[in-house]
């Protein structure tokens, strides 16, 4: 009989198809995976399963007769990003942002925002910052020269197009001018603003200092938090603008974001970002800024890893936190079981617990025997499986991806590729600077969009990443993200299970375990416990993938296959 073990994870759905006959070993015919198409365990997941079973049928020329599911380990996961709350609060007080790569002039200028057109009138007292819209650079420079001659005190300029240097060269080479401010036309005219440009290779020093910034923009002492947040937002940049927006309506001071953790005994306490998260199982609900959630298995928060030798960048990241939640879900596998039954002529059945199936599948790794600890590094959770049961911890591959996305300023799909691959910077059309410091020569010139950029090396393809980081720095941050999440949760899970005996084998399975970097990171994290950390190789050829799906078929065959 043709049977399929089906494992639906938070990120990936896997199937293993085998011919099972009573009294003989299963004959493995097909193993494949696809992204999960719904919330884990819901009937929506059937779409991905159906696709995989159809692929199996095309390949094998026969239909899968029976579907096998695990008793779902009912965990859903969610991620919340803190730090945004402060940035949103800031918008009521000021607009702060880094500016273009080719500013003109240097120094700091502060004054009221005024358009180029309005400089045609009689000069007002006090310093002004000229806002140049889509005007031609020759005309803009002429307008500025004329205004200055008539007595306007122009302290700086903000330019919409990419011609700050062209304007500066024709007006005043030393005047700080930032360009490529695409929304220059929407800045609040008449508001106090400050512009700073540092010399090439240097970073701004005044706007990143909350006290000096506060003085320049006339921020009051009760707006100290806004000054701090604005200063942080532009720290480490070569050029920046900060504009004072309307004074916030009083009575609503920006409050600290707070999340309350509810323990199993009902006691509540605020989430302390500086402290380590409690062991899995201790927090059962949360309240507050991240929404109200009940029936939690685990809550984990990690701060973003900070680049030690880039203090400005480190400051911009410092207030960001990623919080991962693992929730116990009430929904059972009933819906999915019904849906799968309709796909298979002989129906579908639940044959094992997920943990038992995973251990059985992992044990097909050559040389592994029956490993006492199997760690499943999945998308949403790190699960520790052993005979006595399962420990689930919140935060795994998806949390790493989120952190990478925050560090790079990239979308999740791009961050996922950046997470999985080595990086290099395209130095010239023909040379790559790798993250270990080595250089290589390219036979064909690198595509123009990758030039001078940090790129992920996806096979032979260069995938440009938005962050301007040295490859060595990015490697450190990427590894730290994995260590902070996966290494941290592996240790928590093992501790929660009572620790591992010296010499014990810890077998890693799941999507994250196929990442070469992860084995070393986890092994070094567990160095002090003197255990052997190895990667699963299911059936000797599928790497750390499909352990549960294979384990389900093995369970079925072991029970007689009928």
């Amino acid at each position: 009989m043709l049977v399929a073990g089906v494992d639906v994870g938070n990120s990936t759905t896997e199937v293993a198809v085998a011919r099972v006959q009573p009294g003989s070993e299963p004959a493995w015919l097909f193993v494949a995976r696809c992204p999960t198409t719904g919330t884990k365990g819901s009937a929506d997941c059937i779409e991905g399963i159906a696709e995989l079973l159809a692929r199996a049928e095309r390949r094998l020329g026969a239909r899968v007769e029976l579907g096998l599911l695990a008793e779902l380990h009912p965990v859903a996961t969610d991620l919340i990003e803190l730090g945004r709350i402060e940035e949103l609060a800031l918008e009521r007080t000021a607009i702060a942002r880094p500016a273009s790569e080719t500013p003109s002039g240097s120094g700091v200028g502060a004054g009221r925002l005024i358009t180029l057109d309005n400089l045609g009138g009689p000069p007002a007292g006090g310093d002004v910052i000229a806002v140049v819209g889509p005007a031609d650079f020759d005309a803009a420079a002429a307008g500025l020269r004329d205004a200055r001659d008539r007595g306007w005190r122009i302290a700086a300029a903000i330019v919409q197009g990419d011609d700050g240097v062209l304007i500066g060269n024709r007006f005043d080479r030393s005047l700080p001018i930032v360009d490529e401010v695409s929304d220059a036309g929407r800045l609040p005219l008449g508001a106090l603003a400050a512009v700073e440009v540092a010399p090439a290779g240097a970073t701004i020093a005044t706007l990143s200092d909350p006290l000096r910034l506060g003085l320049l923009l006339g921020l009051h002492s009760d707006e100290a938090r806004a000054a701090r947040t604005a200063a942080r937002a532009v720290a480490g940049c070569r050029a920046a603008i900060v504009v004072r927006t309307a004074r916030p309506t009083h009575g609503r001071p920006a409050t600290d974001s707070s999340i309350l953790l509810v323990a199993s005994d009902g006691t509540e306490q605020p989430l302390d970002e500086q402290a380590d998260p409690p062991p899995p199982g201790q927090v059962t609900a949360i309240r507050g800024a991240a929404g109200d959630r009940d029936q939690l298995l685990d809550v984990v928060w990690r701060s973003l890893p900070l680049p030690r030798d880039d203090p400005g960048f480190a400051r911009r990241l410092a207030r960001r936190r990623a919080v991962a939640l693992a929730l116990l879900q009430e929904g059972d596998s009933g819906d999915l079981l019904t849906a799968l039954s309709e796909l298979c002529p002989k129906g579908a059945r639940v044959v094992a617990r997920e943990s038992d199936a995973a251990m059985l599948g992992a044990a097909t790794t050559p040389g592994a025997g029956s490993a006492p600890f199997v760690l499943d590094l999945g998308g949403g959770t790190v699960d520790l499986y052993r005979a006595a049961g399962t420990v689930s911890t919140a935060g795994a591959g998806e949390l790493v991806t989120r952190i990478c996305a925050s560090l790079l300023g990239a979308r999740l799909a791009l961050a996922e590729r950046a997470k999985r691959h080595r990086s290099a910077r395209v130095e010239t059309p023909f040379t790559l600077h790798h993250e270990d410091g080595s250089r290589s020569f390219l036979g064909e010139p690198a595509p123009p969009e990758t030039l001078a950029r940090l790129c992920a090396l996806d096979g032979k393809r260069l995938v440009a990443l938005p962050a301007q980081l040295a490859p060595e720095v990015w490697r450190g941050l990427r590894r730290a993200s994995k260590r902070e999440v996966l290494g941290f949760n592996v240790r928590r899970a093992i501790n929660a299970a009572g620790g591992a005996a010296p010499g014990e084998l810890v077998l890693l399975i799941g999507g994250c375990a196929s990442d070469h970097e992860v084995l070393d990171l986890i092994a070094s994290e567990l160095e002090s416990s003197d255990v052997a950390v190895a990667r699963g190789n299911v059936l000797g050829r599928h790497g750390p993938r499909a352990a549960v799906a294979v384990g389900l078929v093995l369970t079925f065959a072991g029970a007689g296959g009928g």
Partner: protein, 102 residues
């Protein structure tokens, strides 16, 4: 006259001026000369002469950039109407800065 760092051979003075403005914005010197021919041929010609091995050719319609180390195909192309941005990107190639591609 010493040989140019980057050379642009263009059929049209207006296109040449826009190219030069793009270079000026990036702080990279360029030599613009008037010449007649197909953009790719002009660009190859220019790349051979330019000290940085970067040559630009243009007629009234197209702009082409060629790297002397890989002259067979254009490295960058654009409509003549986008000469300023093209100049700025060509200058960024010379300065090893990331390009601004739409």
């Amino acid at each position: 006259m010493s040989e140019p760092l980057v050379l642009a051979l263009v059929c049209d003075a207006v296109v040449g001026a826009e190219l030069a403005a793009g270079f000026e914005e990036e702080g990279v010197p360029v030599t613009v000369a008037i010449a007649r021919g197909a953009p790719l041929i002009l660009a190859r010609e220019a790349a051979k002469t330019a000290a940085l091995g970067i040559g630009i050719g243009a007629d009234g319609a197209r702009l082409v950039l060629v790297l002397a180390a890989s002259p067979a195909a254009p490295y960058l192309e654009a409509d003549a109407g986008r000469a300023r941005l093209f100049g700025s990107n060509a200058a960024r190639i010379a300065a090893h800065r990331p390009l601004a591609l739409g």
